[in-house]
Amino acid sequence: MQLEHHFEVPASRAETWARFNDLEQVVPCFPGASLTEVDGDEFTGSVKVKLGPISLQYNGSGRYVERDEAAGRIVIEASGKDRRGNGNAGATVTAVLTEAGEGTAVEVVTEMDIGGKPAQFGRGMIQSISNKMLDKFLACIREKMTDSA
């Protein structure tokens, strides 16, 4: 499942770049996510998904696969598995920052992959749910970058 987002923030490309590279800022924006450890380009953490009666907790790790400041390109990969073995989830987020007037344009392409029970029993809802979670994540990032700009 590939999801695309585009937004602009009123901060310079350099500032935006710095924030995108600050995991402590980026990760908590993802609904239910928390960081347990950061080590250079790598991190571990968990994502809790709670939807009415359904509760899942993905524990996993991720890393910056690519940080090309010149091209303004960041690729973050993360994957985890549900603590009860219900399934695995993975995401590759590719963000490309370009100058747009005073601010910065951000193109985000997310490749999401959710397997196991949530996909098997979710009546297709997992797609909408992931989409919503990603919307919230990017809205939060955008807000943070806008606030601090």
């Binding site: 939807l51 009666p53 219900n86 029970k117 029993f121 009546r123 297709g124 809802m125 797609q127």
Partner: protein, 287 residues
């Protein structure tokens, strides 16, 4: 098939139940009829530490009239909603939709409150209660509040009912002179609806005086088709007028896409089913 282990309490009063829910040291789930919760537990998509059953709470059961309002206890079973004469007389749309829920066994066990709090956008009750402009009675540690159906549903499986609160009753105004129509579109009988439409109209002097149209499974929450309702108000109860009014049924909706249909198809279905439901309601109202 085997849920994770949990503790179980079956309090006899709402007050006792609230006390149990107030315990935030452990994860608690409320069990009403269990027809949605138990499958989730069996698949281990959830593992509460405590399950609080409302089964023993008599005050949550039953249907009565208060002034011109039906008051339906949250633990009233679908089968009872479907056959209760008071509901049949004053809110026939609710009886009709309740009779369509899942299958007879589920209707013998599942409850209106359970279905509503579960808030599956595809289920029959949420959209129906929106069409009926029902009021949800919620009680919590800080007392009771009443929430209109339109504000009750927040997202997939998510309502305004907090973890320490209970839905106790649903209040439905009386619709004695209204005609009703209910369209539930499925591929096989026991499937969740791909789209559903609950409609009511009141005729006056040969034209439609008021209409209520709500859509199920066209978004993460039930949707009132306000544009359709406005267009129907004052319209002639004819095929053409109803069709014209219902053409905008899908406006502003955001349907899920799944194996049963993409958004384009669902939007189209919403307009067809809205028209059919409204025409049925018009016929039912005696036009």
């Amino acid at each position: 098939m085997i849920p994770s282990a949990f503790d179980y309490e079956a309090p006899a009063t709402v007050a006792e139940a609230l006390t149990l829910l107030a315990d935030d040291s452990r994860e608690v789930k409320v069990l009403a009829g269990g027809q949605s919760l138990l499958p989730v537990l069996k698949l281990r998509m959830a593992d509460p530490e405590l399950v609080v059953s409302l089964q023993q709470i008599d005050e949550l059961r039953g249907v009565r009239m208060e002034d011109q309002t039906l008051v339906i206890g949250a633990m009233t079973r679908h089968a009872d909603v479907a056959r209760e004469p008071l509901i049949g007389a004053h809110a026939p749309l609710l009886a009709r939709a309740a009779a369509e829920i899942a299958d007879p066994q589920v209707r013998h066990r599942g409850t209106i409150g359970g279905a509503v709090v579960h808030a599956d956008p595809a289920s029959d009750m949420p959209a129906t209660l929106c069409a009926l402009e029902a009021q949800m009675q919620v009680v919590g540690p800080s007392g009771q509040r009443t929430v209109p159906a339109a504000e009750f549903f927040e997202d997939f499986f998510t309502t305004v009912v907090e973890e320490d609160e209970l839905l106790t009753a649903i209040r439905v105004p009386s619709y004695d002179d209204w005609g009703i129509g209910y369209e539930k579109f499925t591929r096989v009988a026991q499937q969740w609806p791909i789209v559903s439409v609950a409609a009511m109209v009141r005729l006056e002097g040969g034209s439609i005086a008021e209409a209520r149209v709500a859509l199920g499974n066209m978004d993460t929450v039930p949707v009132r088709a306000a544009g359709v309702e406005a267009a129907l108000s004052g319209a002639a109860p004819t095929q053409e007028a109803v069709a014209a009014a219902c053409a905008s049924a899908a406006e502003g909706t955001n349907p899920t896409e799944d194996l049963n249909g993409d958004a384009t198809y669902r939007r189209h279905l919403a307009t067809v089913l809205a028209r059919r439901a409204v025409l049925a309601a018009v016929a039912d109202a005696g036009a």
